[in-house]
Amino acid sequence: MNTGKLDILLVEDNQDDMDLALHALKREKLANNIYVARDGEEALDFIFCRGMFAHRSFERPPKLVLLDLKLPKVDGMEVLKQVKSDLRTRTIPVVIMTSSKEERDLVAGYNLGANSYIQKPVDFDQFRETVKSVGLYWLVINQPPVVEDSQNLARTAHDSH
């Protein structure tokens, strides 16, 4: 488990989906620094550097979170809500990747601050295309906020606690 230089946090409970996603990411050489959380609680612990991830630092946030909605323990919407409502983590790009094309999920996701909402296509070729586009965009094309800003934000958030 590489927790050092992290690019992607994949939140997925289904082994098959996880394997397919990783397969697709690897093929696009995007899976070098990836961590998979199997439920919402683990994902939150990872992002907020607590529990078994207490050693992690807010200064090294994931560059992208790929979030499934239907998760054990804490569901995807709750994860999204907590990430986007905390000053320390709100700048982390969160892309919802789900089977559901439910309108209400879509609207709720965007309202909570999701950066993208993607329905996983049934066709694997299309899925791979989608994963490639998302990975390229958020990891390569998108310019994240500078680290100093993140630290300042983190400190400010701490102080305010």
Binding site: H23, V122, D123
Partner: protein, 665 residues
């Protein structure tokens, strides 16, 4: 008139004063003249009698003197001649002289001078006569003739008598003159007074005439003025009279016209009476109660039904007592209807109304529900002259209504229950859809994904037959994915909240064509798009409709070298727009039109045309949700046409079943 009175008064006053003054002066003057004349006349008469008296005295004096002279002469001549008759004459005369002397003395008793002279003359006469007598007597007795001396003596004595007589005569003459003069003076005075009186009288008369003339002039002027005024007055009177006469003529004409009208009226009244009778019969034959009243609330009409329903006939009561008398209650059955809410009162007030009233009174003990419709009675000018109320017994209807209400309530309750059940079912369905979309798609993805990986990573190790099977697996997953997606879509249409907004359908169609562009790639497709109107609809759903219909049209014209797809619209009679999508594709047999809009129903094999059989069902569901309808026409081999309306809000029954055939999508 006031003017005249004042005028008369002033004239009269002045005139009267002047006339009275003049008369008083004239009377006084007349009295004075009369008195003066009378007095002077009397004085003159007195003076005249004195003059006469004086003449008598003078005569008497002469008579005495003559008698005395005669005696003496007789005596003396007898004495001289001795003639006996003379002596007798002397004798006879001696008594007469004495008598004359007495008369004279009496006559001159007022004059002392003459009395004194009488006193002188009487002795002189006596002496003279005695002397003469003595001579006579001597002759008679002695026949002696007197001597001359004696004659001389007698002469001398007689001269003395004659001298005194002349004195007396002179005195009387003087008196006569004096008295005559006085009489003359009195006469002159009288004349003067009379003349003066005449002149004064004439003057007064002249003055009076002047005054009267003046008054006459004034009167004449006044009369002239009065005349002018009178003529003005008369003119006015004439005018007035003329006006009155014409008025009278008019009156007469009017009277005549009135009489004619009265005649006509009498006839009309007969007709009206007949009509009234008929009206009454009609009114009485009505099942509805009918009551009419004038503005004062006096009942004009009260038909038999009204009496039957209300239990009473018309009562001469003020409106405020109607509710109580007829027992008119509000729907609660216990509160008397306030007077101002009574339909008839409202009608009289000019308001039309329909009211339900509960009637209960001693004559309608069980109580009756009536429905009363009041409306004002207006004359030609639109002025309210009263009100009329028609009403009917709705007790039975009321009971029915209650029953219906009860049933309705029950029904509503059942509907509510059913709705709740449906809501629950809907929730379950939603959950199901969700799980379908989420849970059913996931395994499909996995099959698709892993079979792909298998093919990619181990394909070279597999023989061609195994590879074909893997491809079949992938095709199956793709098809199932499509099915799942479309089913989900259909479910979502049902749950989708209709968001109506003005939508420019031309633009919607353009967007759809752009989405479908890849499907028509490499084909010759002619789009004939009419200008579509702005329509109130849910743009997302209607876009889905066009997408499904146009996709079908593209699909079923695939075999055509030149596909023609027409999109148009027409206006129906009720103003609804009918939209149409027509193609020149394979078409369908109208025999199977009923199957066109059924779920999973297809008129073509999957080998001919791919499809799930859900597209048109989705179209139908969307159109129905808009309150519209959809139908199709087609002919095998010649093409198909789909029509739909978006009668938003109008629950028009779908004509789906009348449309025919053409299995698609």
């Amino acid at each position: 008139m006031e003017f005249f009175k004042q005028f008369d008064a002033s004239i009269e006053g002045k005139l009267r004063w002047r006339v009275n003054g003049g008369f008083i002066i004239a009377v006084l003057l007349t009295i004075f003249l009369g008195f003066s004349s009378w007095r002077n006349a009397r004085l003159t008469a007195e003076d005249a009698s004195w003059v006469a008296h004086t003449y008598i005295v003078i005569d008497m004096i002469e008579l005495v003197s003559k008698h005395a002279t005669e005696m003496e002469t007789s005596a003396r001549i007898f004495a001289l001649t001795g003639q006996e008759p003379l002596f007798a004459h002397y004798e006879a005369a001696s008594g007469a002289v004495a008598q004359d002397e007495d008369v004279l003395r009496h006559l001159t008793s007022d004059n002392p001078h003459q009395q004194r002279r009488l006193d002188v003359i009487e002795p002189q006469i006596r002496v003279a006569l005695e002397f003469a007598g003595s001579m006579a007597a001597k002759r008679h007795r002695t026949q002696a003739v007197p001597d001359a001396s004696e004659i001389l003596e007698t002469e001398k004595l007689m001269d003395a008598v004659r001298a005194t007589g002349q004195e007396m005569h002179a005195e009387e003459m003087r008196l006569l003159t004096e008295r005559t003069q006085r009489t003359e003076a009195g006469r002159k005075v009288t004349s003067f007074i009379i003349v003066a009186g005449i002149f004064v009288g004439a003057g007064l008369l002249a003055v009076a005439r002047l005054a009267i003339n003046r008054e006459i002039d004034v009167s004449a002027r006044v009369r002239a003025q009065i005349g002018t005024l009178n003529s003005g007055l008369e003119q006015r009177v004439e005018q007035r009279t003329a006006a009155l006469e014409s008025e009278i003529t008019e009156r007469k004409q009017t009277k005549q016209a009135l009489a004619e009208q009265a005649e006509e009226l009498a006839q009309s009244r007969l007709a009206v009476d007949a009509q009234t009778l008929m009206l009454q019969s009609v009114l009485d034959s009505m099942a509805e109660g009918l009551v009419a009243a004038d503005e004062q609330g006096k009942f004009l009409i009260w038909n038999r039904a009204a009496e039957r329903i209300l239990g009473y006939g018309p009562a001469d009561l003020p409106p405020k007592e109607w509710s109580e008398h007829y027992g008119n209650y509000l729907p609660d059955g216990v509160t008397l209807i306030p007077t101002e809410q009574l339909p008839l009162v409202r009608a009289i007030r000019g308001e039309a109304s329909t009211t339900k009233i509960f009637v209960r009174n001693p004559n309608v003990a069980a109580g009756t529900w009536i429905e009363a419709s009041g409306s004002p009675l207006k004359d030609k000018g639109g002025v309210v002259r009263g009100g009329v109320v028609a009403f009917r017994d709705i007790t039975q209807r009321k009971a029915d209504e209650r029953e219906i209400l009860k049933l309705n309530n029950e029904l509503e309750q059942r509907v509510a229950e059913r709705t709740t059940q449906l809501a629950i079912a809907n929730k379950e369905l939603e959950a199901f859809s969700y799980s379908v979309s989420h849970d059913l798609r996931a395994p499909l993805r996995h099959i698709s994904g892993f079979s792909k990986i298998l093919m990619e990573e181990f394909g070279s190790a597999l023989d061609p037959g195994a590879q074909r099977y893997i491809e079949r697996i992938q095709a199956g997953t793709q098809k199932m994915g499509l099915l799942v997606d479309e089913l989900l879509n259909l479910a979502q249409v049902g749950r989708h909240l209709l968001r109506l907004q003005p939508t420019r359908l031309s633009q919607t169609v353009a967007e759809v064509i752009s989405i479908l562009q890849p499907d028509g790639e490499g084909r010759q497709v002619e789009w004939a798009i009419a200008n579509l109107p702005l329509v109130q609809c849910d743009p997302v759903l209607v876009k889905q409709v066009f997408q499904n219909l146009l996709a079908n049209a593209l699909k079923f014209t695939r075999s055509r070298t030149r596909a023609i797809i027409e999109i148009g619209h027409t206006e129906e009679e009720d103003g609804q727009s009918v939209f149409m999508v027509r193609d020149n594709g394979v078409g369908f047999n109208m025999k199977y039109v009923g199957k066109l809009f059924g779920v999973f129903q297809r008129l073509h094999s999957a080998d001919e045309f791919e499809g799930t059989g859900i597209g048109l069902v989705t179209v139908q569901r969307i159109v129905r949700r808009h309150g519209g309808r959809v139908w199709a026409e087609g002919e095998l081999g010649k093409g198909a046409a789909f029509f739909f309306t978006l009668g938003v809000g109008k629950q028009t029954e779908s004509k789906t079943n009348t449309a025919t055939a053409g299995g698609r999508s």
